[in-house]
């Protein structure tokens, strides 16, 4: 074997250790007895995760290239099974008795493999719309099942990975912009002025670029139609459907539920001040306000007990991991390993941003856990496997036959 990225490995190890500490701190004197031993399970997850890390470090990356579509079919079958047999309400888990398996976590990895393989195979034709449309379709199926679970957060992860890897591919930038424009378009329809500004700038840029005139015109018309249709569809939604979306984007619409939770989360983080209250000294009364403090809101525990300095340390470690991931992507020789590394970097960056943003009240509440820190076996496994993959790609610079 080639080189070993000790910096990446050590950063991940420290993050895992901090995670166990925080899970312990969040639950050791919980009012629910079954919560008190969760830290032991988290330690088990770390150990299993480390094993996975070493396995995926040693497995040749070629293997995942070869198996990408098989993985895809397997995950799709599980998602369909969950959809059919999952019963009413939220269906995110498969109960294996000793472990609640969360297929949407693993779907993230599989989506990275599939996009990477597809883009590698399509390398020379990556700027062909029909090829990209087919890829979009490939992602759409699992996306729809995941949205239906409902797990909007993971669904958005898919979209982010799709665009991120298109950006890393050899696609010409104007084409990338055309593909990305519907996203910007939809966001900017919140106000007619912002939308108009976007539309004019987009049109000028696309017309001046070297894109074929018919494609440019098509994309401009497409964006025009989308911009006009979006408010129309919005007005067609039923009151309660609109309400659900609005509460998601602006939790203060639900002041007693999500809104209150977010307020408590901010108080918990803020009360840590510069140096924190100290390990195990977080005020339990306050923590009890946060129902999922050991999973989605673990960062609040960090902020409270270790203060701004603790936050800086952890965010620094995350930055190192993400930076290494992108560097490994840059230095990789093969297309497939590069895309995989870039996808993993994007995944890490996105989840850290969305989770921390949620805890500090910047972003809406989504169920995305904090990598390595949040309690949970599926998430831990996925990110340990990710680290193993990054170490593998680093070790032989992604030599890929």
């Amino acid at each position: 074997m080639g080189r070993f990225d000790y910096i990446l490995f050590l950063s991940v190890l420290i993050l895992c250790a901090i995670g166990v500490m925080l899970v312990y701190g969040a639950t050791y004197n919980s009012r629910y007895p079954w919560e008190k031993n969760l830290y032991k399970r988290q330690i088990t997850y770390c150990i299993v995760g480390l094993a996975l890390l070493f396995i995926f470090w040693r497995l040749p990356i070629r293997l995942h290239y070869a198996l990408a579509y098989l993985y895809y079919i397997a995950v799709l079958l599980v998602l369909v099974g969950l959809f059919i047999f999952g019963g009413e309400g939220v269906k995110r888990w498969i109960d294996l008795g000793f472990f609640q398996f969360q297929p949407s976590e693993f779907a993230k990895l599989v989506i990275i493999f599939v996009i990477s393989r597809y883009l590698m195979d399509a390398r020379t034709e990556v700027s062909s719309f029909s090829r990209i449309a087919l890829l979009g379709l490939l992602i759409l199926f699992p996306f729809l099942f995941i949205i239906n679970q409902p797990d909007l957060g993971t669904g958005v992860v898919f979209i982010v990975l799709f665009y991120s890897l298109l950006f890393w591919s050899d696609m010409e930038f104007p084409l990338f912009l055309i593909l990305f424009s519907p996203m910007i378009n939809l966001v900017l329809t919140v106000h007619w002025a912002s939308w108009a500004l976007f539309f004019i700038a987009f049109s000028i840029f696309i017309l001046l670029s070297r894109v074929r005139f018919s494609v440019a015109l098509g994309s401009i018309i497409g964006n025009l139609v989308l911009g006009v249709a979006a408010p129309f569809f919005w007005s067609q939604l039923k009151d309660y459907q609109r309400e659900r979306i609005l509460v998601l984007l602006n939790p203060s619409r639900d002041p007693f539920g999500v809104g209150y939770q977010m307020l408590q989360s901010k108080i918990t983080v803020g009360s840590g001040r510069m140096f924190g209250k100290g390990f195990l000294s977080g005020t339990q009364t306050n923590l009890a306000f946060l129902p999922v403090r050991h999973t989605d809101f673990i960062f609040a525990v960090l902020g409270e007990e270790f203060g701004f300095l603790g936050v800086l340390l952890v965010l620094g470690l995350y930055f190192i991991v993400i930076y290494r991931a992108f560097r490994i992507a840059r230095d990789a020789k093969g297309y497939f390993p590069r895309f995989v590394a870039a996808g993993l970097g994007t995944l890490l960056l996105f989840q850290v941003t969305v989770n921390v943003g949620m805890v500090i009240g910047l972003l809406p509440v989504t169920g995305l856990p904090l990598p390595f820190l949040s309690f949970g076996g599926s998430s831990m496994a996925v990110f340990m496997v990710s680290t193993g993959l990054l170490l593998n790609i680093h070790s032989n610079r992604g030599e890929f036959v």
């Binding site: 809104g259 901010k266 001040r273 840059r330």
Partner: protein, 583 residues
């Protein structure tokens, strides 16, 4: 690749800087404030109840308003449910402790949503809670707008009332955002337009000490102001409604509907017995509840839309129109058999309501006198299938679609119905004789009759009845409810004119059964009906409209056990004479 790498690293740096800046602001700049909140003080969310939309009549007269009212609630997170605490609260608000315990369990939404324990508490109690907050940790009062109905029972079935959401209602409307403890509309437009009337509750955030003492508003959490509900303008006309109720004052069980026949707008609707809407704004005594839930009289039942009755002779409008439309007769046709008080069909004798007989009559006089023998012969010639087909095309047996619930559909029997009920050989062709004079298995609601008589008044348009004219949300984008034409009657203009001519005779000729509905100076058209009632005195009907040349109002009167249709005609006449200022 270097370029792409740089883009992503730059993006990461940007994002991390943003996060760190925000955390710096939370922990270092505002850290002391949050520390205090986490240490012993806490944030309490108070619900700011949105005022429910007001309800007006068509001219803007206020029919339903709000008055502030105090509710004692428990904050689940701050309240420790020890026996001692529960007893203290029970003593304070004078509610049995078991009911408080039950509410804590069943009405809990989440830790922070106050659970209403007792509504409409006196101001004295509010002061007590305010002053002794330390004695009752977790007990607060909320201001909730409550309904006030200044005209008591006026239009009670149309307006409906409000009350705390029930478990089945909650299951049904949870998706729409209703929560345990919410006040919702229970009947009438209060129920149907609940989503528009209720507005959106706001919230304010208070910093409180551990002992319940309020420090002040929370610092970086702005108050969310409540948004008032939309106001409703009914089609009801207060003046017309009040008049209808006074005409009906002596009626025990019955219905009066006044409709604008050109728009389908209901101007007045009375269903007796009725009830005072304000009953529901206070504790209901067992005696009142017994009266309200009486299984015989059913005051809460809106007979105008929920009651199924045989239409009796009022259906002769339609039977006559079918015969005219099918060219079986013209308006001056006589029938082969003059009325001798009865007619034989098969092996059965069918009687006219007038046993001594009407003699020979043409269609117009048969309408005026409501001669059954004349119409039996029409029924034989029309035939069962054709008659049923026309009835369906007039939309009998289906709901009118008025925005009130629950609505009854009436009933039009079919061949299959008779086959199922009596066996294929168990019934004879004679059923059509009963049906065509509105007896037998056919059932209608008073509102269906109002739309039919309006259709004859307006030249054949079957309109969807309306009770709400307009919806005015607080942001001012008024919604007008348009006139909806459900269908055209399956009759020619001339046919309708002939039937109306017969209806004019009902009221305006010496032999007419509805003479007492006449209004001096105004030509009234109408039709009486006397429905046989196996369980008691006959039901009396009158349907009509006026003036004939330019219809302004259509009216339906139904008196349960009223005896004879001419009594209903007299009641309608009393109403119309007052309405047109002729009294």
């Amino acid at each position: 690749m270097q370029r792409k790498f740089r883009v992503f690293v730059f993006a990461s740096i940007l994002i991390f800087s943003l996060l760190i800046l925000r955390i710096f602001s939370l922990q270092v700049i505002k850290g002391d404030y949050y520390f205090r909140l986490s240490d012993n003080n806490r944030i309490r969310v108070l619900r700011l109840r949105a005022p429910r939309g007001l309800i007006y009549d068509r001219n803007g007269e206020l029919l339903v308003e709000n008055k502030p009212s105090y509710t004692v609630s428990i904050l689940p997170f701050e309240f420790e449910p020890t026996q001692e605490n529960i007893l203290a609260v029970a003593r304070l608000v004078d509610v049995p402790p078991e009911s408080i315990l039950a509410k804590l369990e069943t009405k809990r939404v989440n830790d922070y949503t106050p659970i209403p324990i007792k509504r409409r508490v006196p101001l004295r109690l509010v002061h007590e809670i305010g002053e002794q907050s330390a004695d009752f940790p977790g007990v607060v009062y909320e201001v909730e707008p409550m309904r006030l109905y200044p005209y008591n029972e006026l239009a009670c079935h149309i307006i409906g009332y409000t009350g705390e959401i029930s478990a089945p209602e909650l299951r049904e409307t949870y998706k729409l955002g209703r929560r345990a403890g919410d006040i919702v509309g229970k009947q009438g437009v209060e129920k149907i337009y609940d989503g528009k009337l209720r507005g959106r509750d706001g919230a304010s955030y208070l910093e409180v000490r551990a002992n319940g003492e309020v420090v002040g508003p929370a610092r970086d959490k702005r108050e969310i102001p409540p948004i008032a509900g939309a106001d409703l303008f009914l089609t009801i006309d207060l003046w017309t409604q009040a008049m209808a109720e006074s005409v009906f004052a002596w009626v025990e069980n019955g219905v009066l509907i006044a409709m604008d026949p050109t728009t389908g707008e209901i101007l007045a609707s009375v269903s007796k017995p009725n009830f005072d809407l304000n009953i529901f704004s206070g504790p209901i005594s067992p005696k009142t509840w017994k009266r309200l839930s009486d299984r015989k009289t059913h005051p809460m039942f809106n007979r105008a839309i929920q009651g199924n009755y045989p239409p009796a002779s009022t259906i002769k409008l339609v039977t006559g129109a079918i015969a005219l439309q099918e060219r079986i007769i013209n308006k001056h046709s006589f029938q082969e058999q003059p009325c001798t008080g009865s007619i034989w069909y098969g092996d059965r004798e069918f009687f006219c309501w007038l046993r001594k007989g009407h003699g020979a009559l043409d269609f117009l006089d048969a309408m005026a006198t409501s001669c059954d023998v004349y119409f039996y012969q029409l029924g034989m010639k029309i035939g069962l299938d054709s008659w049923i087909d026309y009835m369906k095309r007039c939309h009998f047996g289906e709901k009118t679609g008025v925005m009130l619930a629950p609505e009854a559909a009436g009933f039009v029997p079919t061949r299959n119905f008779y086959n199922d009920r009596f066996g294929p050989r168990g019934w004879g062709r004679g059923v059509i004789l009963n049906l065509c004079i509105g007896q037998g298995e056919i059932l209608v609601t008073p509102l269906q009759m109002a739309t039919i008589v309006s259709a004859f008044a307006n030249g054949g348009k079957l309109l969807k009845p309306k009770v709400v004219k307009r919806l005015v949300p607080p942001d001012g984008a008024t919604v007008e409810f348009p006139t909806v034409v459900r269908d055209e009657l399956p009759f020619d203009k001339e046919v309708i004119e002939d039937v109306v001519e017969g209806m004019v005779r009902v009221v305006n000729s010496d032999i007419g059964t509805g003479k007492s509905a006449a209004v001096p100076g105004i030509t009234v058209a109408g039709k009486t009906g006397t429905a046989q009632n196996p369980t008691g005195e006959n039901h009396a009907w009158f349907i009509g409209f006026a003036p004939v040349d330019d219809p302004k109002i259509a009216i339906v009167v139904l008196l349960e056990h009223g005896g004879s249709g001419s009594l209903a005609a007299w009641v309608a006449g009393e109403f119309l004479r007052r309405y047109f200022g002729a009294l």
